[in-house]
């Protein structure tokens, strides 16, 4: 039973329950109104209506599951970082479960902070930027399936939509736009520079990223996630496309803005970052979305290179997917806290001069392998 059928069933049950009451209520009313009630009830129980709500419920389920995982990520980040730095991570809040409730405490703290909009800021841009940023990042979740049966963008026969990968990367790449708008609209010289640098960084690392995706798609034969993962049944793409794997991971570092590439966010020198003028839960949303994009990066790496949900069958597919995503995340964190920050011109150098040739070489290898008929 896949996710759509599961949520359809729940909505159907719910609508039936409400309709019982509704019809009974309608039977007490005089003629014309009673018919109206019956029509509404019938419409509510109709297939098209329930399917709409089923999709909404699917999205909510997926969103909640991924959010809980993001909270886990934040917790693992802080605990792991703590052990690397030779201190405890979060310790007291939620003492018996290792400090997991610290996330909720921090979220509540951000809720009660005063939300300040700078007086001379461009109000429309200022309020729009978080919406685009957060919205587009969450939209990626719709595209990435955790397993053939646990996906939102899929077809009735569980073969997935033909352009899943394309959609995911398109949503991923909207972010630089919203960062530019946020930097500009804050009316602050330094956030403007920070926003520009961030946009330059993300755009220059999109190219090697998409070239690696192109190489994977060449080997898999289609743009859908299901096809890509199914093509890895024999061997994970990380092994023949090793160069692409490494390049993809480095590009993801730059896209998600973790050290060593977090220049726009944590600038020591001149700029305090493009999120300076945001306060309260707006800022909290930016932080959460940053980790959410980290999760998406891990999920994309898993799906494209590490075999997605393929694994021994004693653990269900989605759990394998999440396990692999966690492992990728831990490695990213490990590298994150061990390396210093790269300067902006060196960063762009790396993107254009070192990673792009490697990505092209990787594409050539993929084409060669495909034409040799091995995939």
């Amino acid at each position: 039973m896949n996710l759509y059928e599961f949520s359809y069933g729940i909505i159907h049950w719910l609508v039936d329950l409400v309709n019982h009451l509704w019809y009974w209520l309608g039977s007490w009313l005089p003629g014309g109104l009673g018919d109206f009630f019956d029509d509404v009830g019938n419409f509510a129980a109709s297939h098209s209506n329930i399917s709409v709500f089923a999709i909404v419920l699917e999205a909510i389920i997926m969103f909640v599951i991924i959010l809980v995982n993001v909270l886990n990520f934040i917790w693992i980040d802080r605990k792991f970082m703590g052990r690397m730095f030779d201190f405890y991570g979060p310790y007291y809040v939620g003492y018996r479960i290792g400090g997991w409730l610290q996330n909720l405490a921090d979220g509540m703290k951000l809720f009660v902070k005063e939300i300040i909009v700078p007086a001379k800021a461009d109000r429309f841009g200022y309020l729009l930027a978080p919406v685009i940023f957060v919205g587009s990042s969450i939209a990626i979740l719709a595209a990435i399936p955790l397993s053939p049966k646990f996906a939102i963008l899929t077809s009735p026969t569980d073969t997935g939509v033909p352009a899943g990968v394309l959609f995911a990367f398109a949503m991923f790449a909207i972010a630089p736009f919203s960062i530019l708008v946020a930097g500009w609209a804050s009316n602050n010289k330094y956030t403007l520079i920070g926003g520009m640098r961030s946009a330059a960084q993300m755009m220059s690392y999109e190219i090697p990223l998409l070239l690696c995706v192109a190489s994977v798609v060449v080997l898999a034969g289609g743009f859908s996630f299901f096809e890509v993962v199914e093509a890895q049944r024999t061997v994970w793409f990380a092994i023949p496309l090793v160069i692409g794997f490494v390049v993809f991971i480095i590009c993801m570092f730059a896209e998600v803005e973790v050290q060593p590439f977090d220049l726009p966010e944590a600038e020591a020198e001149l700029v305090e970052g493009w999120t300076t003028e945001y306060s309260g839960m707006r800022f909290g949303l930016f932080m959460m979305t940053s980790y959410l994009r980290g999760y998406c990066a891990g999920a994309l790496i898993t799906a494209l290179f590490l075999g997605g949900w393929i694994g021994p069958s004693f653990i269900p597919g989605p759990i394998w997917f999440l396990i692999k995503a966690y492992i990728v995340f831990v490695i990213v964190e490990w590298a994150r806290w061990s390396l210093p920050r790269v300067r902006i011109d060196q960063l762009l150098n790396i993107g254009w001069k070192r990673l792009m040739p490697l990505a092209i070489v990787n594409l050539m290898i993929a084409v060669a392998l495909k034409s040799l008929g091995w995939f």
Binding site: D86, Q259, D262, L270, R343
Partner: protein
């Protein structure tokens, strides 16, 4: 973009201490720089004119809170020069050992702040953790963690606590092991090398002409270390080498300080081994003779100097303090011009600025 002056203002999260650096940028490249100090001026030289010689001791500590034992010691040397006092041998060796521990702690704090500027929190945490070992040692010796007030005019305040020698030798072994780990963290990472090699070059002639002293001078190739050239306390009897490096860039300054920490470990071992038994303090006269006294020491940041004029009473007529950072920071223009804005942090961080002594 047109050229504009930017203030890396008095309020800035990453400049060490309260000062202002005005840089003229053309796009991302720096064309001119002007440091402005004076925001932390506390009038210490004037305060000292109204205090007795003993009361100035804790005030001299607070000149540079990063290396406070060094300044306390410098003041004691100056007044001992004025009054003509000879410090007993045990006190001299003890002062040398404590000074070298202070040097290691100061260099570790520099390393921590430098790593934090470059974006490596891990360097910050590890360096501060290891600095705790030395601060704890000095705490058991003197009674306080940052402003020690340990040297007195005529010797040191009190004798070593039990187990001090054993703990110090253990700390030196630990430090030598840890510095090898630091090489992995810093030099093993290409990113750190990319940000430091070739950045902020200060040539030998410029360094000598501008009056730069200390590790930045030695990193430009000039072999000038007051502990060897004008030795004081018991440094003549201790065998060590001043460290130099031929390039004058940020990486050279980093190398010089790391190796200086290793040399300090050697000095501590020798000083504690050779310390004789005996008195650790002599009585100092209360009223100073009419005359002048001069003291020069090798502070972890450069050459520090104090000059005192006595007028027969128990308060100095004038106390003049020469701070190394005040002079070194004027070399900022030479070092910054031509590099990117993002290099400012690495270059100014490499000078190990402690504004307390620059502004007095």
């Amino acid at each position: 973009m047109a050229e504009m002056w930017i203030n890396m203002g008095p309020q800035h999260p990453m400049t060490h201490g309260l000062w202002n650096l005005r840089i003229k940028v053309d796009g991302e490249t720096i064309t001119d720089a002007e440091p402005e100090v004076g925001y932390l001026h506390r009038g210490i030289e004037k305060i000292c004119e109204n205090r007795t010689y003993t009361q100035i001791l804790p005030i001299a500590d607070r000149l540079c809170y990063g290396a406070s034992l060094s300044w306390n010691h410098l003041y004691c040397r100056t007044v001992e020069d004025l009054m003509g006092i000879e410090v007993p041998e045990r006190a001299q060796y003890l002062r040398v050992a404590a000074l070298e521990m202070q040097r290691i702690a100061s260099h570790l704090m520099w390393l921590a702040a430098y790593a934090a500027d470059l974006g490596m929190m891990i360097g910050f945490i590890y360096a501060m953790r290891d600095r705790e070992i030395f601060i704890d040692l000095l705490q058991s010796l003197t009674g306080s963690r940052i402003t020690y007030n340990f040297c007195r005019i005529g010797g040191v305040a009190h004798d070593v606590p039990p187990d001090f020698e054993r703990d110090s030798l253990r700390a030196c072994d630990y430090m030598e092991k840890k510095i090898r780990e630091y090489y992995d963290l810093y030099e093993g990472s290409k990113v750190f090398m990319m940000r430091n090699v070739g950045v902020g070059v200060l040539t030998k002639e410029d360094a000598m002409n501008l009056g730069v002293t200390g590790p930045p001078l030695r990193a430009s190739g000039v072999r000038y270390d007051l502990r060897k050239d004008m030795p004081y306390e018991s440094y003549p009897e201790i065998d060590f080498q001043p460290i130099t490096h031929p390039d004058g860039d940020c990486y050279a300054r980093y190398c010089v300080r790391m190796e200086e920490m290793l040399e300090s470990c050697k000095i501590i071992r020798q000083a504690l081994q050779r310390m004789p038994k005996g008195k650790w303090r002599v009585l100092a006269p209360r009223n100073a003779p009419i005359g002048t006294g001069l003291g020069r020491v090798e502070d972890p940041r450069g050459e520090g100097m104090m000059y005192v004029v006595g007028d027969g009473t128990d308060r100095p007529y004038r106390l003049k303090i020469r701070s190394p950072i005040f002079v070194t920071v004027s070399a900022a223009k030479r070092m910054l011009v031509g590099y990117k804005v993002a290099d400012v942090v690495a270059i100014m961080g490499g000078l190990d600025m402690c504004i307390g002594e620059a502004d007095r």
